[in-house]
């Protein structure tokens, strides 16, 4: 249970980073934190107390496994997260080259 609360905490820290921070890189870090917390949540969903890795080997005595499906989902989600983070950082670097700053208060061409 405590781990679930920690996952929620991590998610809220990420939301705080996205909403309150003014530096582009810190916003990216906020999104990454949210992503980790969701991944952690998915892993916890599949966890079975006392379960082993779901691999059938010879001489198997225990029949209690953790759920492998959320783990497969998390692996996919990590790869997708890598792509989004890489693209976000690439755009952030391009913005820095154009504007000379990471501060979102000075990057405000679009409005209305």
């Amino acid at each position: 249970m405590i781990l679930f609360i920690l996952a929620v905490f991590l998610f809220l820290i990420g939301v705080y980073g996205v909403v309150a921070k003014r530096n582009l890189i810190k916003i990216v870090i906020g999104i990454a934190l949210m992503e980790y917390s969701v991944n952690l949540f998915l892993i916890l969903v599949g966890y079975v107390k006392g379960g082993t890795a779901p691999i059938l080997t010879e001489g198997m005595t225990k029949d209690l496994f953790v759920d492998p499906l959320p783990q497969a989902m998390v692996l996919t989600a990590i790869v997708i997260g890598l792509a989004t983070t890489a693209l976000l950082l690439a755009i952030a670097i391009r913005i820095y080259k154009k504007y000379g700053t990471f501060d979102i208060r000075e990057i405000k061409n679009l409005k209305g």
Partner: protein
């Protein structure tokens, strides 16, 4: 027929890889190959539409049911999916054909076509998927490609818009993933049909309601419904024009509105509360979107705000249908209302796609997007002017164009269901839309006060053939789609899609087969 199902994803995905490899060696390759890919897919859609009887299920990997548990990833094409697939690939083909001339002045053309194919592959996948996590994966493919396409011109505005879009899009994707996690926790399955069965059987309503709220905010952000709309005007106006027409015409429907419809009708049981939330969100988008649009002077920003407003009509029509179904009201009214919503979805794809292509043609010739500086183009660009006029009349609901009929159906359904205020609001929004598009027509094409392009010494003439072709085809479609109210045409295209939503409970049995 089920072996043809994966082609909708495989062909554009393979096309993207081929263009990425060969496009660097032969420069013109991607330009023509993309159009061929989408022409093929549109043909395939029409073939499916004519031969579809009940949902076609393709099980990836060929895994059959194991003790009545679905193991394989399901790809399902039913009436609603094929309706969306037709919209995506038709608008995709016309945008790709338009790009042949439009994108010639850009460098890195093959990258553009690669991303274009990837984005459409993602959208096709979302629309066909019968599996929750698969929806998430395809949605991210479409979304990441669209982030990159918004930033394609890499100037200050485009980069800023893309960053904004990515932050909000990333947050919405995480909400979606979180709600998928909750649903898996609750039901121990990811197959939509199976989840639906588990939810009906299971107890705790609180978990389901909590999940519904997260899902609605996640997909609401993707569909740019009103409290979540901030990214749309920036992103859609910054992309190259054929992409704007894909984003506004198709993307917000395929990965936003469609998934909301599919999940809330076919997966969750329809409840009055959720129907009310969806109707209110639709109404708010419809009214506030148009009020924000009327003050805009940048032609593409104005069109982007109108996308929010017109999607409000779609959601409103479907929401009223949901309310009537939840109250066990007259099924004929619910059918009419949902038919109006889905009809407007197709119409919006056509006329908004056309309007963005027109805006692109104006920008291509004059290099100006500010309407105050334009004017007097009607003599120089007759095709653009006339197609834009028909699209404007269509979006503001003037008979005999398609927009009139879909709005009329939604308004009649709202009156029959007893929501008089909503019908009056729908008429009111339509009038403001008309005012706003009169402004577009007058300042862009007919007024002779601005004409900044003449002072700059630009030689303005009609745009090249491929751009004209796409615009003319879409303008003809604005007329032709009116025939969807004729019963024999409607039964082929619209009725199967409406049936999927009205007879929501039948989806589970039809897909699982027991």
């Amino acid at each position: 027929m089920d072996f043809l199902v994966p082609l909708f994803v495989v062909v554009p995905l393979g096309g993207a890889f081929l263009i990425a490899i060969i496009g660097n060696l032969a420069r013109g390759f991607g330009r023509y190959f993309t159009s061929i890919v989408f022409a093929f897919l549109t043909g395939l859609c029409i073939y499916f539409m004519l031969h579809l009887e009940g949902p076609v299920v393709f099980k990836v990997g060929g895994w059959e049911l194991f003790e009545s548990i679905p193991i394989a990833i399901y790809m399902v094409i039913d009436g609603l999916s094929i309706y969306l697939l037709l919209i995506i690939n038709l608008i995709g083909f016309l945008s790709a054909f338009y790009s042949i001339s439009y994108m010639k002045r850009y460098t890195a053309e093959s990258h553009y076509y690669t991303l274009f194919c990837l984005m459409t592959a993602g959208m096709n996948g979302v629309v066909m998927s019968g599996d929750l996590f698969n929806i998430y994966v395809f949605l991210e493919i479409a979304a990441i490609a669209s982030y990159a396409l918004v930033a394609f011109e890499i100037e200050k505005e485009q980069l800023e818009a893309s960053f904004k879009y990515q932050v909000l899009g990333g947050v919405s994707s995480l909400f979606i993933l979180l709600s998928i996690g909750f649903l898996y926790w609750y039901t121990s399955t990811l197959n939509i049909a199976d989840v639906s069965r588990m939810i009906v059987a299971g107890g705790k309503r609180e978990v389901v309601i909590f999940t519904q709220v997260i899902l609605l905010s996640g997909f609401g952000l993707k569909a740019a419904m009103i409290p979540f709309h901030a990214w749309l005007p920036d992103a859609h106006s910054s992309a190259p024009s054929p992409i704007s027409s894909m984003l506004s015409g198709v993307l917000i429907k395929a990965i936003g509105a469609y998934v909301i419809l599919r999940l809330f009708f076919n997966m969750f049981a329809i409840t009055y509360n959720i129907g009310m939330v969806i109707t209110v969100i639709g109404t708010l988008s419809m009214v506030i979107g148009v009020l924000l649009a009327i003050g805009q002077w940048d032609i593409k920003r104005l069109l982007a705000y109108h996308s929010i407003s017109q999607m409000g009509y779609v959601i409103l029509g479907v929401g009223i249908g949901m309310l009537v179904l939840a109250n066990n009201g007259d099924r004929a009214v619910a059918t009419l209302s949902i038919a109006g919503g889905l009809f407007h979805l197709f119409n919006h794809a056509v006329f908004k796609g056309l309007l963005f292509l027109n805006a692109g043609a104006v920008e291509y010739e004059t290099g100006i997007r500010d309407m105050k500086k334009l004017g007097g183009l009607s003599a120089k660009m007759p095709v653009t002017t006339s197609t834009s006029l028909s699209a404007s009349m269509s979006i503001s609901g003037i008979p005999p164009f398609n927009g009139f009929f879909s709005k009329l159906i939604i308004i009649i359904a709202a009156i029959q269901a007893g929501y008089y205020v909503l019908s009056i609001l729908a008429v009111f929004v339509s009038i403001i839309t008309l005012a706003s598009f009169l402004k577009v027509q007058r300042y862009t094409f007919f007024n002779r006060s601005g004409e900044e392009w003449e002072k700059r010494g630009k030689q303005v003439r009609e745009v090249p053939f491929s751009m004209c072709f796409s615009m003319i085809v879409l303008a003809i479609l604005c007329f032709v789609l009116s025939t969807l109210i004729v019963p024999s045409v409607r039964d082929v295209i619209l009725t199967p899609a409406v049936d999927v939503l009205v007879k929501a409970g039948e989806y589970t049995t039809a897909v699982l087969g027991y």
